[in-house]
């Protein structure tokens, strides 16, 4: 009798221990967003060739010719118009070809590309030291410096100095917008937080910004902890916690920024390096953060990671674009690659559940947008321009209807 009681007690203690362990694991997982935040980092800087696409080749002047040798960081093309935009060589080597190739820029388009063969020497024309006093620059000096940086704004696709050339009073660094890449944001914060805060401080000083807000997901406890540890001396930088996503109201004196661009700005401010390398995230079973040179072929990346995929998604798995062309190269607007295993995408008839409209963050009516696809007046009244292209309508549709695809085509048609 005593033995049975003892055994029962023991069982209860073991179960309690198990419960405690599971709860702790669950709590950790919630903190880590389901183990989402511990990506591996791979620096892939040795591609055999680099292909630099020149979007709108008629507007650009290509400097080197086939057979010329270029150093790392040399200008290889620049914009002829009023807006300065320079394209730099990410490697040192010989120009082997200037051909037309497919590249990804808001869809796949065929454009002129400069192909450079890597000599793996990373030769630079002149060595530059670290600029320690970068926050003493005047706004004009900084804008001049930025105009040579070659960094583009992710949203407007315009050179970054245009964004900063206006009078700025408020800066919002949004890590919770619809295009934000959580894996990359977490990686940058964990590894470069000090540099990020220095850059933000320098931008505040240079532009005489009175308020800077960093928007963070309130469930991302680890990141919040890191920020709270280091933000103490930066009085003008404030943290804001949101539950899911944040859509700020932007007026003319407010600018939106993201952590990735801030990292590139830090590189440019400190080391005076042009924009030649880029972070992307790669996901299949695991998540990687890759640092790659602009123009690296996706085929090279797959070979380096020892992966055999022919289909992949550019962007995230909800709103991305499915591509099966491995010859595409990394361009500035590619932020994530997802290896794709084809799943059954059965199309049933709509059951009128209304989940598409219910889950739309902008309160749009996706079904009505498709119904009025030929009526531009109605589409304007249905606020199709407010569509964030988040893909939640398709994600939540229980009948697997790809509403997002239809809406994107209609929206692109409206813009044209």
């Amino acid at each position: 009798m005593i033995n049975t009681l003892y055994n029962k007690e023991k069982k209860i203690t073991i179960n309690l221990k198990l419960l405690f362990f599971l709860t702790k694991k669950m709590y950790n997982n919630i903190n880590d967003l389901g183990g989402f935040m511990k990506p591996n980092f791979i620096n892939f800087n040795n591609p055999e060739t680099i292909t630099i696409p020149i979007i709108n080749p008629n507007d650009y002047t290509i400097i080197p010719k086939i057979g010329d040798y270029v150093y790392k960081g040399n200008t290889i093309a620049y914009n002829k118009g009023d807006i300065k935009h320079y394209i730099y060589s990410p490697i040192s080597g010989k120009i082997i070809d200037i051909v037309n190739k497919n590249c990804f820029f808001n869809g796949i388009s065929n454009t002129k590309c400069i192909v450079i063969e890597n000599d793996f020497k990373e030769m630079v024309e002149e060595l530059k030291g670290i600029d320690k006093n970068f926050n003493t620059l005047t706004k004009e000096e900084w804008l001049e410096k930025l105009s040579y940086a070659g960094i583009q704004d992710i949203d407007s696709k315009l050179p970054i100095f245009i964004k900063y050339s206006k009078n700025i009073k408020k800066m919002i660094i949004n890590t919770c917008d619809i295009n934000s890449n959580d894996i990359l944001n977490n990686y940058i914060v964990k590894n470069y937080l000090t540099e990020l805060l220095e850059t933000i401080d320098a931008i505040i000083e240079i532009n005489k910004i009175s308020e800077c807000i960093i928007v963070i997901n309130k469930y991302n406890k680890e990141i919040i902890k890191l920020f709270e540890q280091k933000i103490g001396t930066y009085l003008k930088i404030k943290l804001m916690f949101v539950s899911d996503y944040y859509l700020p109201k932007v007026d003319e004196e407010t600018i939106l920024e993201n952590l990735e661009t801030l990292y590139y700005l830090n590189d440019n401010l400190k080391y005076d390096t042009p924009f030649i390398e880029k972070f992307i995230t790669f996901s299949n079973k695991e998540n990687f953060v890759l640092k790659v040179k602009l123009g690296t072929s996706i085929n090279d990346i797959f070979k380096n990671l020892k992966l055999e995929y022919t289909d992949y998604i550019i962007g995230n798995k909800i709103s991305g674009v499915k591509v099966n062309d491995l010859d595409l190269m990394i361009t500035q607007n590619i932020t994530a690659l997802n290896a794709y295993n084809d799943s059954q995408n059965e199309i049933f008839k709509c059951i009128k559940c209304g989940k598409c409209a219910l889950k739309c963050p902008m309160n749009l009516l996706p079904k009505e947008i498709i119904r009025f696809k030929n009526n531009k007046e109605k589409l304007t009244k249905l606020n199709i321009k407010n569509c964030l292209e988040c893909g939640l309508c398709s994600y939540n549709c229980p009948c697997n209807i790809n509403l997002f695809k239809e809406i994107k085509i209609i929206k692109d048609g409206m813009n044209e």
């Binding site: 591509v323 059951i351 697997n400 695809k405 994107k408």
Partner: protein, 274 residues
């Protein structure tokens, strides 16, 4: 650019199959309770309905050369639960036959606003007129009604289990709860105007209608506000019919409002884009 395939490459967990499965799970307690009351007869009815609907599906798809998909048709199950348990097998087979064929053609020709389930029940009432046994409840019977309603219809037998099913469907997000809620609230708040006996609210008929008939996804509006309007309108028409002494007022009201449900959506969209 239009040849590219845009999202969605990842799906939420709520699929059509999962919704159907959840509705089936929510009906299981009722079926088990019916077996406790009537032995194997409910299971026999359900099996016959299932096999007949499967056979008709298969046959129709072969004749019209559509792609055949083996799926358990939940509507034929709900229909079986709405018919008296001791129904003759020939009548049951006939009803399921008519239901399946009309359902197939309505879906094929996109006439989805006709609530075929309610229509078949109305036809059954017209033909046989033995649908519900009217019982005069007393106040003392209140708890007893909730547990055993003494009707021969499985769906209305145990209102308490229907409440459990309602809870399950709400938890799994498989119900257009706005319709159910607005229907209930309007019914409760306006019933005194027509001298409605409030005890009848507990006899299971209203509950089953509100959960499984009125919130049928295909025959109800899509948008939030139109769903509320739909529920309110159904309750008002139902009470109006009750006042006019029309039998089976609520089922008739559901059928009529389902017929005009696209208009409610259209009005909402028209107002939004005005």
């Amino acid at each position: 650019m239009n040849n590219l395939e845009f999202g969605c490459f990842k799906k939420s967990k709520l699929s059509l199959r999962k919704i159907n499965l959840n509705i089936l799970i929510s009906l299981l307690p009722l079926i088990i309770y019916a077996c406790f009351l009537y032995n194997v007869r409910p299971i026999l009815n359900i099996l016959i309905a299932f096999l007949i609907s499967l056979g008709i599906d298969f046959g129709l798809n072969k004749i019209f050369k559509d792609e055949y998909k083996l799926s358990f048709n939940l509507n034929s199950l709900i229909l079986t639960l709405l018919l008296p348990v001791k129904i003759s097998f020939i009548v049951l087979i006939g009803i399921i036959f008519i239901f399946k064929i009309s359902d197939y053609f309505l879906k094929k020709y996109n006439l989805l606003n006709i609530n075929i389930l309610v229509l078949i029940i109305l036809l059954y009432i017209l033909l046989f007129d033995t649908y519900l046994v009217q019982i005069n409840y007393k106040i003392d019977d209140l708890i007893y009604i909730l547990i055993n309603n003494h009707t021969d219809i499985i769906a209305f037998n145990c209102p308490f289990l229907l409440l459990v099913s309602l809870g399950y469907l709400l938890l799994t997000n498989c119900l257009k709860w706005r319709i159910t809620l607005s229907y209930f609230i309007t019914f409760l708040s306006l019933a005194f105007l027509v001298n409605y006996n409030y005890i009848n609210l507990l006899n299971g008929v209203l509950l089953f209608e509100a959960i499984y008939l009125i919130s049928n996804s295909e025959t109800t509006p899509i948008y939030k506000i139109s769903q509320y309007c739909f529920g309110i309108l159904t309750a008002i028409i139902s009470l109006l019919f009750y006042k006019l002494n029309i039998d089976y007022s609520s089922i008739l009201a559901i059928f009529i409002v389902c017929l005009i449900n696209p208009i409610i959506d259209r009005i909402y969209v028209w107002l939004k884009t005005k």
